[in-house]
């Protein structure tokens, strides 16, 4: 079966868009788009990815070329989808699936609700908080409070992500909520210190994906993406710190 130029571009563009939306490294997105379109029979592929958009130019055997641009505004983190698109491109390169199947699978990946719903992610977030509190040699009630504070952070994330829009608002509000929980605990039981609660609570807010991708983009030589992702990590940390500091300042006063 002959695959048309438009179909190649739409398949490659969709794959790139999914990977960028869910937090993949720049070089991985570019390589995946190259592999997918070449497996469909493209002669030459040029791909360019920055953290806010995907560009793709495909030239077919007849020498015609077509460019597509996909703008990505909302970005989340879902490493499961990245692994799935990666697997799909491997299969396409090995000729183990057809074009029509590949497109259907990609559309399914972009729409399916993978991973876990609100309650399990809240429990996971709480476990991060509680576990970190254990590492800080906290006593039992501090661990419980850290668990609850980290759960609250996840719930705030859920609410804020529905409202969409303002960047770094969730990190700031999360930091404030955690510091407030710590201060409240200290107020109710002056024997317990708010330290472990706040340290545990801010742990789910660490920008893990931004840090990792910034490093991996530097190694791959994608300077533009690595700088902006590094800045994202710094700004996220600053937002969390500001949220905590503001509440602590008021509490001390």
């Amino acid at each position: 079966m002959k695959i048309s130029l438009e179909e190649m571009v739409s398949l490659g563009g969709l794959a790139g868009e999914i990977m960028l939306k869910n937090g993949a490294e720049t070089y991985r997105i570019e390589e995946t788009m190259d592999h997918i379109t070449k497996a469909c029979g493209a002669l030459k592929v040029e791909s360019f990815v920055i953290p806010t958009g995907v560009f793709l130019t495909v030239t077919d055997q007849a020498g015609r070329s077509l460019t597509a641009m996909r703008r990505v505004r909302m970005r989340t983190i879902n490493l499961d989808r990245i692994a799935k698109v990666n697997e799909l491109s491997r299969r396409l390169v090995d000729q183990r699936i057809e074009y029509t199947n590949a497109l259907a699978i990609l559309q399914y990946i972009s729409r399916e609700r993978t991973g876990f719903s609100l309650m399990p992610t809240m429990l996971a977030s709480g476990t991060i908080g509680g576990g970190t509190a254990i590492l800080q040699n906290a006593v039992f009630f501090e661990i419980v409070a850290a668990f609850l504070a980290a759960m609250l952070v996840r719930y705030i994330a859920h609410v804020v992500s529905r409202l969409q829009g303002a960047q770094f608002a969730f990190e700031f509000l999360g930091g404030m909520a955690v510091a407030f929980c710590g201060a409240l605990l200290h107020q109710i039981w002056p024997d317990l210190s708010p330290d472990a609660v706040i340290i545990g609570g801010i742990m789910p807010l660490v920008p893990g994906v931004a840090i990792t991708n910034a490093i991996r983009d530097v190694i791959a030589g994608d300077l533009l993406s690595s700088l902006s992702r590094g800045l994202e990590a710094v700004l996220t940390s600053a937002a969390v710190a500001m949220g905590v500091v503001i509440v602590l300042a008021f509490y001390g006063w």
């Binding site: 983190i77 876990f116 710190a241 602590l248």
Partner: protein
């Protein structure tokens, strides 16, 4: 007790970032191994910065090996691996000093926090870059063999 806590923290990070369910255990074991390296190098007398650097080098190496053998992106194993190393308590202590107006202690603690964070980032950088060099060296030498034959 603490090892179990680290395992749970890493596994929860994996769930939060939605890594494929079958890989959660591998990613958590990377986190536990990294934390143990950090813990014992600190008991042996190393500074926090050096201990975190060594541990994050280990995270990078383990993640790249797992990624190659399971054919999955290395990011999946790096993130749960290095989160237990993040200097959360240092960052908090810095904030506390700054709020109380003890700027000298705050700046020195902040410097330590930043150095520790940079050490983690640089450790992952070093191990991933070295791994890439080794892989490229292997493919290059296999090309030379093709040329000879």
């Amino acid at each position: 007790m603490k090892i179990a806590a680290v395992f749970l923290v890493s596994a929860s990070i994996g769930i939060l970032y939605r890594i494929p369910r079958t890989l959660v255990v591998y990613a958590s074991l990377v986190g536990v191994a990294a934390w143990l390296i950090m813990y014992y190098t600190m008991i042996a007398g190393a500074t926090v910065v050096l201990a975190d650097f060594l541990a994050s080098i280990a995270v990078g190496i383990m993640a790249e090996i797992l990624a190659r053998s399971l054919k999955k992106p290395a990011t999946i194993f790096i993130i749960p691996g290095f989160i237990p190393l993040v200097p959360g308590s240092d960052a908090y202590t810095t904030m506390l000093y700054m709020v109380k107006g003890q700027y000298v202690s705050g700046v020195s603690m902040g410097m330590q926090t930043m150095l520790t964070a940079s050490a983690i980032a640089f450790g992952i950088f070093v191990s991933s870059a070295m791994f890439k060099l080794v892989i490229n060296y292997k493919t290059e030498s296999s090309w030379q063999n093709v040329d000879k034959s």
